[in-house]
Symmetry: C2
Subunit: 341 residues, 2 copies
């Protein structure tokens, strides 16, 4: 029978108490250099790795952060995840992935898994929410699980979030289109119940309004992110007959599908029709024509969300500092998909 290598084993070999061994890993400043070195040598020799599982029992900290994704098909979320992971792993926290694919049932399962696992906090980059509005976030709040929203926010709920100024993003898009004299406007929308999406829409529309061009707002096509191409095809006539100059897409993901659709329909971008997107995902620069878009700093949003969450987790102990939201600035990226008229 092999002897198990735990903290007692190490403490015996090093001729110290288990508490001292523990201190070496947690509060090593309390241990004299001499004994610390000795203990480290013994640990090395037996390849001892203290169990975080066991320490979680005592400390009530698992060093895990949940990362909830609504749709792993959109690389936008991968970039968000990348930003968060990079910050977390630096601090010895690691991310657990929960991909709901916008499925409410799955979210309920995740909620259960998250609580059972005693995860220290979660970052939410999108939830379906289901019939009961915001059930997910309400549960999180009820249980006082530290939480940060990225690229999402919920009004009236006390959950910090990291977002881009989406209203301003919409404004930038509209301003630009008008400036280059694209005045017959269409828009492809999706999930307008999501506030950040609605904000883009509102910002955009506001500019048309201010310029008395609301009657030039000719088509508005809602799309479901699962069957974008089909829904565009269903609206083919509407799009072709509208004779719009430009179409604003509420995300690059959708813009790229729209470009594909237009190409298949022999409509030339930007000669026949300008397209402008939102997000600036990596691939927007690779489609052709290169997509003009409103950029968010996606990586930074992910990174910041994790930073905020970890700050909250540690501040929870001396509940003093109030969480703040972070709002990043959007930026117009002019590439090739919009024409001056």
């Amino acid at each position: 029978m092999e002897e198990k290598i735990d903290i007692y084993f190490i403490s015996k070999k090093a001729k110290v108490s288990p508490a001292t061994v523990s201190r070496v890993f947690n509060r090593s400043e309390l241990v004299s250099e001499k004994t610390r070195k000795k203990i480290q040598e013994v640990c090395e020799k037996y390849d001892y790795k203290p169990s975080i599982v066991a320490s979680s029992m005592r400390t009530n900290k698992t060093k895990y952060i949940g990362f909830v994704i609504p749709n792993m098909t959109n690389p936008f979320f991968f970039e968000l995840l990348r930003g968060a992971e990079e910050y977390a792993s630096k601090k010895d926290y690691y991310l657990v992935v929960f991909n709901s694919e916008n499925n409410y049932e799955k979210e309920l399962v995740f909620l259960d898994a998250i609580f059972k696992r005693r995860i220290d906090g979660i970052i939410i980059s999108g939830i379906a929410g289901g019939k009961k509005d915001n059930f997910f976030t309400r549960e999180i709040l009820k249980k006082k699980l530290p939480c940060v929203l990225v690229d999402r926010y919920v009004e009236g709920l006390d959950i910090p979030s990291v977002i881009t100024n989406n209203v301003k993003g919409g404004i930038l898009a509209a301003d630009y289109l008008l400036k280059i004299n694209n005045k017959r406007i269409g828009i492809i929308t999706f999930e307008l119940k999501i506030k950040i999406i609605k904000d883009r829409y509102n910002g955009f529309k506001r500019i048309l309004e201010q310029n008395g061009l609301l009657e030039n707002f000719l088509i508005e096509i809602p799309v479901d992110s699962k069957n974008i191409l089909e829904e565009l095809a269903r609206n083919r006539d509407k799009i072709l007959k509208s004779k719009v100059d430009a179409i604003f897409c509420l995300s690059d993901f959708i813009a790229i599908y729209l470009m594909e659709f237009l190409r298949n329909s022999d409509i030339k971008i930007p000669e026949d029709l300008s397209v402008i997107g939102f997000d600036n995902i990596t691939y927007s620069q690779f489609v052709s024509p290169k997509l003009t878009t409103i950029a968010q700093d996606i990586y930074k949003m992910g990174n910041l969300s994790c930073e905020m969450l970890l700050n909250n987790i540690s501040e929870n102990n001396n509940k003093n500092i109030k969480l703040k939201n972070k709002i990043l600035e959007p930026k117009l990226i002019i590439r090739e998909s919009c024409a001056v008229r």
Copy 2:
């Protein structure tokens, strides 16, 4: 002082023993329906969620799987992750993300984190490996941590893997180019030390050889996945002067950068130059011209890798069935980036 809600609390309220409560969650077939219902009601009432952390201590199972990614910039890995997550979460396992960005130091840190966290197994979609070749995998083997490689394999080591037949993929690419009479050939390579990449290369080259066209293998440009565009630019003259008909890229990720580079250099695809890729990532269909490529079923690879890992984890107990590798078939996807000459 709030009473803590643990298994004892529930057992008292339900007037049963803690053992019975535990059984309801784990081996509920051993509990009579009547007591089970009663216990469930009490759990519901107090919103009790048994701690997986505590159960991990007893069972030595954390229900976590590590997912090691070499590069979160390539959406290929997101698709792999998606496939694995989907399988895992169905079985109440969850994935912990370790993104090394091909950094050997980070991998060492991860190795430590993985062992300390007593994660049940890991899926590796790529590692740097560092100076000591395969240090990472050797450590994993030494500690007998269940492990599966996806889109990677290591010869001579007893680690199961899920891959596509990459040699065959290379063959398909070469066959196709020759068939459409593209006979002056170039290739953009990267990380040839990775076996699956080298296999693609070898399969491709073998066909040229068999057709006595090896002297038509005109340029071979190695590229570092971090600065693809710059490295292509550095080789601009070489590419332009070679007058090749077609370039084979060992991944779509690279092919897309190459297309971008060629576009910037006013070389028309496919009229002046055919491009063929490998992987069939989502965006290959959105670039224009649409990329002709050798497809791997990425999602399925991720899914399968997780299935294999979980099978191994449970079979470990009654160490009987030997792990097998899975080799999926590649498929030529003809789109628009290769011209008949």
